[in-house]
Symmetry: C2
Subunit: 446 residues, 2 copies
């Protein structure tokens, strides 16, 4: 072969290799999410990583250049890597009107962001989204929240809360507080920072934005009032009497609350939080955010209703609602809280069959195939015949069991089974090895 | 929200949306492959889609610009989208010397090629690779072939063959035939076309390349001689007596053949084919290609040993061998041969629970949750209360069962179960619905 010039092996800043131990944890999270998504009838969808620039830019306007990986392809077309999975879904919804509605889909795919990488934030990361397209019914909103609740429970989380708010109610709260109409949009960004920078800093920010001081005080008091669930929404509705859209928002919250109760989502796992905003501008109704209460580690999923987005593709507006689970956050938190199942190991391999020489290798290969046929993830040692090397390999990789098969064992029809954690060795009849291993492996690793 | 200008919804040429029915088939193939890969102890790995340009270019030299999606990122770095999964693996092997060797990994990820798209060939497609890094032992080569055999069998293929050759033997055959040394590399491309363009066209091509006519005849005779397995290799070895490296290649083939037998790969599913070449220049020893014999649809997987590639990263050379399964080809062929399991449906949803009105909706939501708890993939209708719409939805999506739950059913503690294929309706006690559905669904859909 041609010898290429030497190249420094490196990954780009903000991007990562996921080596096997991390991947094993990640695959556990993804398979749990997929199982839950499918239990609710969400269908798999995949879209290309590369989209036309105008598809990606629509959502961002002038900021697009800062946020997106954009380039020209060989045909001179302006293209870019997708920033999220919502815009490609909106494109799909507009492009295939024949899709049966409501169209419920999940997508688990990488997205790319050209922003400066920060701790825990990457330029390439995986989003896990469920969305329902084509119905404005609040049952769809309640369903995606229920899906998030079910997924978080199955992943091992218990002390978490799905915070719920409504953009229509929030805008109306701003209006009735005396925030001038043209500033209603801009209050979102400030309110969103309440927990992070505190009420005084938010107040100052709203003043600077030109919101009258009295309006600021009223608004901050309103959004911070804890909301008693049943009566609280009725009171809120009265307070927004002058805003039909605000009342609509409260009615949506009431319906949502009812459907969550009927779906069995426990009241301790969701609450209405009028100060919760969500960053993205395209939300039009209910918005949601999942937070872990203990320890306080912030948002692990979020979403909302975006009835206007699909209309950007010239088709008629199609209502839509969805929720996105942050895979990297979930994995970080699972690790921090040690919630990952103890059966997950650092390697997928459950057993290593030794090879001692040419005369026993055939038998080792056959034993490997028998164990695989029994569903046991098995390696036959590939690289030499010295026992210490083979034990060291199993040890360094974290393989739990080693099967020793020398000519003596073969002659006697037995296998020596070594538990690598304890060093204990037992002798098994050859035809009982698979069941002995299965018993020791318990629930399997993944 | 801001109204963006209207955008035409479209995908780029050579790229595709994978809608749910195709994704369901695709996920079946991927989960089968992953199960087999893990049974042999291959570990999951993921690498970023974007790599430094110099990492990607090394393999291609001047052709890189034609084949790769390359661009400058916001920091002015020359970067590109990965072309395959082998080069990123080589980078990983060079970057993390601490990885325990042999390092066995699989990766199932999209790759991008800027070439002109053709029928069945896309600019973005998914590769499924298994590779073993860090051993030159032929057991590793035999293992990846065995993995491919096992995967193809589990996917439902039976009449297929894994063709095996060896680059060292092939080069030596060229030498002993009288092909000048400097032309040995270039004969690969011509020989590779034997099946496609026929022996006469290949002969003409070799003449044009400057290979003496006698050498061409000898070479074509040799590579086309069917090889009787045991004796054939011995004869071949004698014929290559003047080439130590050719003899090494034959010895590798003999070892490989022995390990395949010992691993229980049936002799009808593999053969040595001296005219099989594989395109990529970086192979250094055994090469493999899986072909479906009936119908003749060409290659569905391929690979080989590439002991020189990892050395391009300045580290010491690390031997490596791997095989890549073409996901799109496999899916096309599964569809063509109708090998997909009949339990795979067009939708993941197994049952739809109707909603007839506000007074029954709570009960419908509760029934949905009960069925999901029993593992049945269930939708509760999200968009209205008219029965014909709900049946039409189930019908258009291909949902096999609908559960009718009106106030009458609720009062009597029953559910009406409708089989959408036959139109047949049966009445079930409420607490027996899940088991009645499970019995009718049989093995499940996924």
């Amino acid at each position: 072969m041609k010898v290429a010039p030497k190249v420094t092996p490196q990954v780009l800043k903000g991007m990562r290799d996921l080596l096997p131990p991390r991947m094993i944890l990640r695959d556990f999270v993804i398979s749990t999410l997929v199982e839950v998504f499918q239990l609710y009838g969400f269908e798999p969808l995949e879209t290309p990583a590369i989209e036309y620039a105008e598809t990606l830019e629509g959502k961002f306007g002038e900021e697009a250049d800062k946020l997106l990986y954009m380039f020209e392809d060989r045909g001179g077309r302006r293209v870019g890597l997708r920033y999220d999975l919502t815009v490609p879904l909106a494109r799909v919804a507009a492009m295939y009107p024949e899709l049966v509605k409501p169209f419920k889909r999940y997508q688990i795919s990488p997205v790319w962001r050209a922003e400066k990488p920060q701790r825990g934030r990457y330029r390439e990361f995986t989003q896990c989204d469920v969305d329902t397209i084509g119905t404005a019914n609040m049952m769809a909103d309640a369903e995606v929240i229920t899906v998030a609740y079910t997924a978080l429970r199955r992943l091992g989380f218990s002390r978490f809360c799905l915070e719920i708010n409504n953009r229509k109610a929030l805008s109306a709260l701003a209006s009735v507080s005396g925030v001038p109409d043209e500033l209603v949009g801009s209050i979102y960004r400030s309110i969103d920072k309440l927990e992070k920078i505190g009420v005084d800093a938010v107040r100052a920010e709203l003043w600077r934005a030109g919101v009258p001081a009295e309006a600021v005080d009223r608004l901050l008091a309103l959004v911070q009032t804890p909301l008693d669930r049943a009566d609280g929404l009725d009171e809120l509705r009265e307070r927004l009497a002058t805003s039909p859209s605000g009342q609509e928002g409260v009615d949506e919250l009431k319906q949502l609350a009812g459907y969550l109760d009927e779906s069995g989502v426990p009241t301790e796992n969701w609450r209405i939080v009028l100060s919760m905003v969500r960053g993205l501008e395209y939300y039009t109704g209910p918005i949601f955010e999942g937070v872990v209460d203990e320890p306080r580690i912030g948002s692990i999923c979020g979403g909302g209703r975006y009835d206007g987005l699909i209309g950007m593709f010239g088709s008629k507006p199609i209502p839509a609602v969805g929720i996105s689970v942050g895979l990297e956050r979930i994995i970080d938190v699972l690790e921090e809280l040690q919630l990952a199942p103890p059966t997950l190991r650092l390697t997928v391999t459950e057993a290593l069959v030794t090879v001692f020489g040419p005369e026993t290798r055939g038998e080792s290969l056959r034993l490997g195939q028998e164990l695989r046929a029994a569903g046991i993830r098995t390696e036959v040692f590939l690289d030499g015949e010295r026992l210490p090397n083979q034990l060291r390999y199993a040890n360094r990789k974290g393989i739990p069991f080693v099967l020793l098969l020398g000519s003596d064992e073969i002659a006697r029809g037995i296998v020596t089974l070594r538990d690598m954690a304890t060093g204990e060795q037992v002798v098994c009849p050859r035809d009982a090895v698979a069941s002995a291993l299965q018993a020791r492996l318990g629930g399997g690793t993944g």
